[in-house]
Amino acid sequence: MNRRIFLSKSAAGLVVISWPLSACNTGPNYDPAMVAEPLDLSKIWDTETIIKIGNLYREQYPKENERSLVKKIAERSPESIGERIQEDFQSGRTIMLDGWTLSMTEARQCALFSIKESK
């Protein structure tokens, strides 16, 4: 599944996860769709798998909601998500879901995507 397809499927849900900027405390170039897109995983997974993994994450962390997920994913900036994922792997901030070893950040992206798709 390529990135373009992913974004077009997400487009309908943009309004759902587009919070007021002040609520998310993010920068002026913020694109909510980017936050919920696990770029690397979308190279190997279809949307069903992303949703499944997202749901599994949410079962393990039921207290995390859309707002907290967005904040954790784009902690520094949306552009640095890729870096954050690499840092996760380098420092051992990983999680196993359905046997997959994932970065916490990319697992949260899946969770955010699964929330969007459930609405």
């Binding site: 190279k43 190997i44 792997f89 997959w100 070893t101 994932l102």
Partner: protein, 512 residues
């Protein structure tokens, strides 16, 4: 020269200087080493020069514990032995395999890898391999497109294999038959080994076959080279003078049977295509390839066994049945045909999948040593074969260290694949519960690698043979091959068993 022993008169007595019992990989390797010497070598082969179902029946037995292949079908009982259908995979053991490891009970050989180096080089020639070079750097210069995944090589490195197409039956038959001092007797099954009164040396062996005749072979030195299951069986069955069998005062003969656990363990999905010939091989074509191995330092830190992971196209691996389910016919020829046929069909179906991320996904299959376990063992049944020898019973049993090690290896690979940006790994379900270190999936294979039943130890209470493969307490009886292994190492056993056999050969020469 070759003599079909069925044609000799009953009760013929044969004499020589050296008697090698078994003309398989180990026995033939040793016999070749004695050519052009002044010694008369008696080479006994229980089967004929070709497959004979009546003789193959003599390998019948039973198994229990972890499911295993039919004993009749996992070895070949004729001149050339199991090289008749082996895959030819060759790699030396690693230094850690010979060391005492405090997390691996009963580990620690009385020899080191360095002791075997000169013999590995000779074994490479016997098996018609390339140069005695097994470093990744060497082969990357020699061959094209051996591109390595950019993993941290302080954790995971590329362990190299070479590939032999040697079938000892066709390769060495004429050489052995023409050797003036090698006397090959076919249809000569050893049914009993007889020692002197104090059992400090062996006087002769008794030989039988389906013609109903019995013969004796006398020699100054006797080398048992029938494979780990049969070597143990013969020693245990030679119990007229020692109730527990020869070399078995301390109840070690037959124990510590080890296999290589070979089991699909995880999937790796590459984020981008990666062009490489490094991790794949084709029989008869590939000179060298690699499997992912865990460094000694990490094995120590993690307290795990030595094992490797090989790559198989995921589309193919998902279709193909494990060997333990296809190699079920008691006729080894039919078992082979059935398995190869299934592989071909599976490959053809998998080749239809040409698009999508699955085209860059692989199943990672583990091959790992088995922790030495005294309860994993060969014993004798009360039922006897056509020659009156009790049939073997193999009880194959694992320990929790085996599964914990497989799990950890794939967790390490998952971490490294992700860190390097190469891909993501999904560990198979049977490995996910860290509390479960005993349940194995139905597709758990052995590699047809039989090891450890006459293990090597300096301490006669802990092993059957000493550092020279001589049976403790018996001055002229030796065991050749993988039965002597103290631990089973990560790679296929054949290169090492030939090396060890050549070392034994040199030792016996020093005594003659």
């Amino acid at each position: 020269m070759h003599i079909d022993i069925r044609k000799l008169k009953n009760n013929t007595s044969i004499e020589g200087d050296i008697c090698i019992i078994g003309a398989g990989t180990a026995g033939i390797s040793i016999a070749l080493d004695w050519m052009h010497t002044s010694q008369k070598v008696i080479l006994l082969e229980g089967g004929g020069l070709n497959y004979d179902p009546q003789v193959q029946d003599l390998y019948e037995g039973e198994t229990s514990g972890q499911p295993y292949f039919p004993l009749r079908a996992c070895r070949l009982h004729y001149f050339g032995g199991t090289t008749g259908h082996w895959a030819g995979m060759c790699a030396p053991f690693d230094p850690i395999d010979f060391k005492k490891r405090d997390w691996v009970p009963n580990s620690g050989w009385p020899i080191t890898l360095s002791d075997l180096h000169p013999f590995y080089a000779r074994a490479n020639k016997t098996l018609q391999l390339g140069p005695y070079e097994y470093g990744f750097d060497y082969w990357q210069k020699e061959l094209s497109d051996l591109n390595s995944y950019p993993l941290d090589n302080s954790v995971i490195y590329n362990k190299m294999w070479q590939y032999s197409t040697a079938r000892f039956n066709s390769l060495y038959k004429e050489t052995i038959l023409k050797a003036k001092n090698i006397h090959l007797y076919s249809y000569a099954n050893v049914t009993n080994i007889k020692g002197n009164e104090g059992l400090s040396s062996i006087d002769e062996v008794e030989v039988k076959n389906h013609s109903g005749k019995t013969h004796t072979v006398k020699a100054k030195h006797f080398i048992l080279a029938c494979g780990a299951i049969q070597n143990a069986r013969i020693l245990l069955a030679s119990n007229k003078q020692a109730v527990r069998g020869l070399g078995n005062d301390k109840d070690n003969v037959g124990r510590y049977f080890m296999e290589h656990l070979e089991v699909g363990s995880s999937e790796v999905w590459l984020l981008e295509p990666f062009k490489t010939n490094l991790y794949h091989w084709n029989y008869g074509e590939t000179k060298a390839s690699a499997e992912l191995a865990i460094t000694e330092e990490v094995q120590r830190q993690e307290r795990i066994l030595n094992g490797t992971a090989s790559f198989s196209r995921l589309a193919y691996a998902r279709i193909r049945q494990p060997r333990i389910k296809t190699w079920t016919n008691k006729d080894p020829r039919k078992a082979l045909e059935s398995t190869l046929g299934h592989w071909r069909e599976s490959a053809a179906k998998a080749a239809e999948i040409t698009e999508g991320p699955i085209t860059r996904a692989f199943e990672l299959q583990t091959r790992i040593e088995q922790a030495p376990n005294p309860n994993s063992r060969v014993t004798l049944l009360s039922e006897k074969d056509a020659l009156g020898v009790p049939k073997p019973h193999l009880h194959w049993e694992m320990t929790e260290l085996d599964k914990r090690s497989v799990r950890r290896i794939h967790q390490l690979i998952a971490e490294q694949m992700a860190k390097s940006g190469v891909g993501r790994v999904k560990i198979h379900e049977f490995l996910r519960d860290e509390e479960d270190n005993f349940t194995w999936p139905e597709g758990t294979n052995g590699g047809w690698h039989h090891m450890g039943t006459c293990r090597m130890s300096d301490d006669p209470t802990k092993g059957v043979v000493d550092a020279n493969c001589q049976v403790h307490g018996i001055e002229n009886l030796y065991v050749a091959g993988s039965a002597c292994y103290t631990t089973s190492g990560a790679p296929n056993p054949t290169l090492t068993l030939v090396a060890l056999s050549l070392r034994l050969s040199d030792f016996v020469k020093s005594k003659v």
